[in-house]
Each structure stands twice: as C-alpha cells, then as structure tokens.
Symmetry: C2
Subunit: 320 residues, 2 copies
C-alpha cells in the first residue's frame, strides 16, 4: 500500500488530493494519513496542505524495497526483497533463505553489515548508508564447475551499471574485484549450495563503495563519490545493477558462458598484463593472455607454457 | 554420565554394586538410580538385585549416541553426534549445522526420515529402526570439482564395512549407489557449501537398508537382512562404517584421490560393462572403461572415442 501511495506521489510533482488517493486505493482518509505518517517516519519529506493535499518533496537515501521496486521493471530479479538496516552478513541470510526455497532472484539488502565477508572469509567493511551490500539468490541449471562464470557475469554487470549511472570506466581485476583508476571499488563473492554435479542455488554477494568519503577509505580503495567528486543516488545505481544482472543472466542462459566471457574481456584490467598469482602456498608468474570459457585465467609462463588458473590472489606486476 | 554408567555395565557381565558405580562416578545412589531409570525407559534391560547391584541384560537396537560412541575409537569422525528418533531429512539439518560452524566429522543420525532424499531430489524411503540414515559433515580443503571423490570414498567405506560386518560382497554402481547381488542396498548423496574455488563444507548422506523385511522392499532393492537371512546389529555396522570413512578420509588427505579411485575400481560393478548413461536429456552409450582421478567415468563409445562423464543415471546393459 505504501508503495502505491509513493508511486502516485512520485508520478505527480504537484499536490495530490488526499480524497483522490484514498478513493483510488479504496482506503479511508484516516488510513491514508497513517500510511503517510509511516512514510514520514521513514524519512520521506511529505507536506500536507489543507485543500491541496499531499506532495512529496524528497525521498531519503535508503535502499527500501519500495524504492528499489519503483520503476525497476525486471522480470525475476528482486521481485522479492529482504531489506535490513543492518545484518551480520547478507551472505549468511541468503544462504539460509536459499535452503528455505527462496525463489530465483530473491534479493537480500543491508544498509550495513557487522560481519560482511569477501573471498576466503576476508572482511568486507560495510559502513552504514555509504555502500551497496547485497546478496542475490540465483537458481541456474549448471554444474558447480560453471559457477565462476556467475562471478564474472556480476562483474560485467557492475561495470556496465557504473558506466551508465556514473559515466565512469570500471574494470574487472580477475577473478572477483572491480577497480576504477587502479583502486578497488567493489568485490564479489559467489557461494554455492550444490550436489556434486548440480547447483541447487548460488548466492552472489556484492559490496560496492558508493558514497564513502575518501578519509574513510584505505589507500588501495576508492568510492564512486571520490571518483565523481559528488555523491550519487544508491537507489538509481542499484536498480541499474539489478537490470544489468538480469540482462546478462538471460544472455548467459540463452547463449552460454561465451557471451559473458566476451564482455568480460573488454572490461578486463588483468588481461595483457604481467601477473603473479598466489594460490594457497604456490605462486605462478607470467602474462595473463586470456580468460577461458569456464572463467579460468590463462597464464603464459616465461617457459612458454600456458597454465590455466581457476582462482587466486592476483598481483599486477609493474609494466616493463 | 549415562554413557559412563553404560560403559561399566557393558564391560562387566556380572552384577555391579550400585555403591561402587556411584562412588566411581562421584554421584549419589539416588542420582545413579535416576540415570538407570532413564536408561530403562530408553529400552536398556537393566536388572537391579538387592545386595548384588545392577546388571545389563540387553541393549535396544537404537543408534543412540552413547551406543555409537562406545568402543568407536575414531579420531574425528562422530566425536559429535546429533541423534533423532525422526527427522524430515538428515541432509537439511546437517547443511544447517555446517553453516553454524559444526566441527569436521559431526554426525547427524535419524531412526527415520519423513522427507529423506537422494540425488536430484529423489525420495529415499527411510522406515523406522530398519536402516541407517546419516549425514556427515566434512571440511576437506578441496575445490568443488574434487567433491565427487568423497562420494566414491563413502561408497568404498560402505563396501568395506558390509564385508567386515556381514561378510557380503557389495559393489559400487557409479556414481553413488551400492549393490549386492545386483540389487540396491545403499545410496549416497553428497552436497556442498562452497565458494567457487574452495569447499566450505561437504555433507555426505548415506541411506543403507539393514534390517528391512523383503516384503517392504521394492523389487530392485534389498537389505542386509534379506541377503544374510537374519537381522544384524545396526550399531556394529555403523561403527565399522564410521571407522572406514575415517581411514579412507585420512588416506585421501595423505595420498590424494588416486588411492581412493584405486580402491573404487576393485569394488566397481560398472567398470567393464556396457552402459547407457542418461544425463539431463541426452544419453551416451558405450563401454565403461575406467574411473578418472576426479571420479568421472570414462566411456568408450562404439566410434572408439572415449568420453568423460561427470554424473548421470547409469543403466547397465545386458552383457552380449
């Protein structure tokens, strides 16, 4: 109901009579007034003027489900949203929801996380109202070995959304980080619940620095605000990201991993560089020559041998 | 405490004075009496004779943690046991416990399941007190692609335990079923919670028909009771199975997948046969020539081409 009321108020930029809204929604004036109060409590600046009605002056910078849903126009991504002011970790909750049969495309959003995590259990710093911290439940019909493609699909979607909304060129540092101007802006964590040959569901976790102030970022990290010199709407960015994920997911389903890997090459920060990859206690050094159909990185070592690497920590060596 | 009391009673086959047991355990006679009553309520036949003390006449055929633990002598398997008279599915609970940091080797046991499941969500019929229905949480340091080896490791362990305890020759129908005399006696389901390149934990599910009556089995299935002509102790069999899993797991950690695959070949019902494998909507027909290091089956097709199959439903063709 609140979503519908907001829908009307956002559509009209003039005053809307309370009688009209109430009658369109089939509720009482008193019921409408109560919903308006709730919205105001949530941070919506709504003025009420006698004989004129209600008018929305501004919306709060919150990732409320009704903000995300308004004008989203996706088919299955984020049709169900679980929103929290804070969570220990959106990943933990999404993995739980996946086990409880949450539908394909279910989104978990938190304004902050107390135990946000990245690959290999590392921390993800999640300050309140500054970034986008989400976990998305997907149910692709794939074996576990194909799941790295979903990380790259998310990476491509982040780059596309950042370009569209912020006009910035983001790049993918293989396997799961997004950089702008050689500084990290986002990380992706993909977790699976699977049988040995069949994924039950995948959870894609994304942590994206949006309106973080420079002073609160470590030297190797950046935010869109720092890059743009001004804050941007997290709602608009998240909506674009969700649309891009849906488009790329459909592309993946229709045309396979190749379509995603092709896009991924064009956004890659890693390809064409000399890299050192640390994987457990070994490391491999060489030229990053390509990304394989299963998302693996191909390294041409100095011996000329090409080695396939499935994951690891990549260090980009200084160009000679 | 009950475990200790039972330990004493099982060790001595004569009457044990209540004073002695109570003083050894540092509890009162009244406290001891209460524990004895609880044990009797659980089905332990314990007689108490004035001036002589307590004596255990028989134990119930139940997979109580204190029965499994007594004389088990494992290092990490089943040091923690969750036992239930019935559960919807041991898999579901074990996956939950895995997410709550359950230790390596944690065992979930149920005397019956209302929604026991096999590969690809198929049902596993789990009549009460007849079979062994378990899920085991393991935390191997492997990528998801190696997980099929754990299914085979469990399959080998079942064959070894059935041979040791029942003297029967069981065989592995690739990828996850155990047969005796061409009838199915057990199934294995392996599920993972993983990052794309690193398993967080694996849950091995085993359903094993032990004392099922022939009349309650479908034509293609059998039980150890049917094969032996008499019921056997589920506790003894489960203990042997857990020991074998621990041994084979250590073998896998020390010497890699090869050691498991070598054993698996010797127990295989599938190798050397002509097979049809149904995998999603395709099928492959040919001779099953070997099992690869990653647990995949190698099929030599009539064209001479050898194809690697990671999973599927295998039909053994009649020998020509």
């Amino acid at each position: 109901m609140k979503e519908k009321i907001l829908g009307y108020l956002k559509k009209e930029h003039e005053y809307l009579s309370g009688d009209e809204i109430a009658s369109r929604l089939g509720i009482s004036r008193q019921g409408l007034w109560k919903h308006i109060q709730d919205l105001k409590d949530s941070g919506y600046d709504i003025v009420a003027v006698p004989h004129l009605g209600y008018r929305l002056l501004s919306s709060p910078d919150r990732l409320f489900a009704l903000e995300i849903t308004h004008g989203l126009n996706t088919k299955f991504i984020a049709k169900k949203i679980h929103y929290f002011d804070y969570l220990a970790s959106t990943m933990d909750l999404a993995m739980q929801l996946g086990m409880q049969s949450a539908v394909n495309g279910t989104l978990v959003l938190a304004e902050s996380q107390t135990k946000g995590r990245g690959r290999l259990g590392r921390n993800w710093f999640s300050p309140k109202y500054k970034g986008i911290y989400l976990s998305l439940i997907l149910r692709p019909k794939i074996p576990p070995s194909v799941s790295p493609v979903l990380t790259l699909l998310s990476a491509v979607s982040i780059c596309e959304a950042v370009k569209k909304v912020g006009g910035l060129d983001a790049q993918i540092k293989w396997p799961n980080d997004i950089f702008i101007n050689n500084k990290k802006i986002a990380g992706i964590l993909t977790e699976l619940n699977a049988e040995v040959d069949k994924v039950n569901f995948v959870v894609i976790g994304i942590g994206l620095n949006v309106n973080n102030d420079k002073s609160a970022l470590i030297a190797q990290a950046t935010s869109l605000k720092e890059q743009l010199g001004q804050p941007i709407s997290r709602v608009g960015l998240l909506q674009e990201l969700l649309r891009r994920i849906e488009n790329n997911y459909s592309l993946f389903e229709d045309r396979g991993a190749k379509a995603i890997i092709d896009k991924c090459r064009s956004f890659s920060l890693t390809l064409g560089r000399r890299v050192k990859i640390y994987c457990q206690d070994k490391h491999i050094e060489g030229a990053a020559v390509d990304i394989d159909q299963d998302g693996a990185l191909l390294i041409r070592k100095d011996s000329g041998l090409v080695q396939k690497v499935f994951s690891g920590d990549v260090m980009h060596c200084r160009q000679p």
